[in-house]
Symmetry: C2
Subunit: 253 residues, 2 copies
């Protein structure tokens, strides 16, 4: 809609691939160097882009702060967190919280019991949308047309032999998930990892988020993990109730 802004914003994903110099940016944008320079300067002033010592540009620090504040403003996350932590204490496994947005599913919270290996690595990162339990839960609730359209345009990478092979199978799985009100991922993403998940619903009954518990085969078998299902569903329902019940007014402030 706005050409200038459009061009400027196109620089960000470009720099996400790695640092780039002025010429490269101008080329990729298909604009003159002077134009790219002006855009980069503006981005730089706002801290979204940083100029490193070798004069190349890379994504800037303000981006972290913004993402940080963005995630903290998600009220589902805030409400859900204590419940997730409690569930984690009870079962000891990794607990995830995810939302759907614009064709992507992303983790917005995570509590894990084990070594804190790169704990930040997944927060905000898009999940394996065709196999993850939380993704199934979130997509299963989309309006049918949107769901079909999305399923058709997705890629279906075969992470493992048990990964969802294609759109048809995926849609069928989503139908099942929708009916039963919970979802699993049994080795569909990583061979030895299983998950069970349940949806979190808003006051209008629509799914606003999804949560799951994940554990490796070596700790508990898939069957054993499934025995946690009632607990997971109870937790999700508790979050749903609290989320749809009291929505503390923070309109004006």
């Amino acid at each position: 809609m706005s050409q200038t802004v459009d061009r400027a914003l196109s620089i960000l994903p470009l720099l996400a691939e790695g640092p780039a110099d002025l010429g490269r940016v101008a080329d990729r944008l298909g604009v003159h160097k002077s134009t790219a320079l002006r855009l980069l300067r503006t981005l730089n002033e706002h801290g979204l882009v940083y100029r490193q010592s070798d004069q190349r540009y890379r994504l800037g620090a303000r981006l972290f702060a913004l993402a940080q504040e963005a995630v903290e403003n998600l009220d589902v996350r805030e409400i859900a967190h204590p419940h997730l932590a409690r569930l984690n204490e009870q079962c000891g496994h990794t607990v995830h919280l995810a939302v759907y947005e614009e064709g992507e599913v992303l983790y917005i919270d995570k509590v894990e019991s084990r070594y804190p290996v790169r704990m930040y690595s997944r927060i905000g990162k898009p999940v394996a949308i065709t196999v993850a339990a939380v993704a199934k839960l979130l997509l299963a609730d989309l309006p049918e047309t949107e769901r079909r359209a999305l399923a058709e345009k997705l890629d279906y990478p075969l992470y493992t032999p048990r990964s969802t092979p294609g759109a048809a199978a995926f849609l069928k799985e989503l139908a099942t998930v929708r009916e039963q009100g919970w979802a699993t991922d049994l080795g569909g993403h990583e061979e030895s990892i299983n998950c069970v998940g349940a949806p979190i619903r808003g006051a209008d009954g629509r799914v606003v988020a999804a949560m799951s518990v994940s554990a490796p085969n070596v700790v508990v078998t898939a069957d054993e993990l499934l025995t946690l299902l009632p607990l997971v569903r109870r937790t999700a329902d508790a979050i749903s109730r609290e989320y749809s019940g009291k929505t503390p007014a923070k309109d004006t402030a």
Copy 2:
């Protein structure tokens, strides 16, 4: 430099305060509603802004992905991580990695031994720049003029009685840190938390990052923590060597 982009980007911090409707955004920007609308639409197309069901705008998902990729492209972080993890195994305490950028110091990695309480909360969040050990290390290496200017314009909040009280004291502390090549924060941010840190240097000897080990008083006294100093410095030096030594070429790709 570019008015349109400038206005568009000004919307982001505004939305970071919380969701806002069109009128509010237009007011805050000082532009007509139609102008704000066009800007918001453009931001929306790029996923930086999301329109929630109540029609208000909030920060969007792409922001997470970008911040994510940005942090992953920091090669210091990549090189340092295994060293930090090893240090964590050896001493059991929380280990931080931070960089300086445009007047801010931010954590870019963290390994902690204890409960994973909100582990994402600090990554990318600006640190308490006037007291944190890593901040002292990073600021101590700035060119004098920049260091002075920054020190003067900072606020010096008294988190605790031991917090750095003002610019003069801070500059003096930075001088000490620069001379000795390491830094501490003894209860300057939170009464019961102590840290020791050391700088990571690039090939040219300039400080490119800083790391620290933090532990609460109840686990180890400040004196005991200080006995870890040699280990911390050795780790930092190892990272420095690896960082300045082999810089894998990824220019063209």
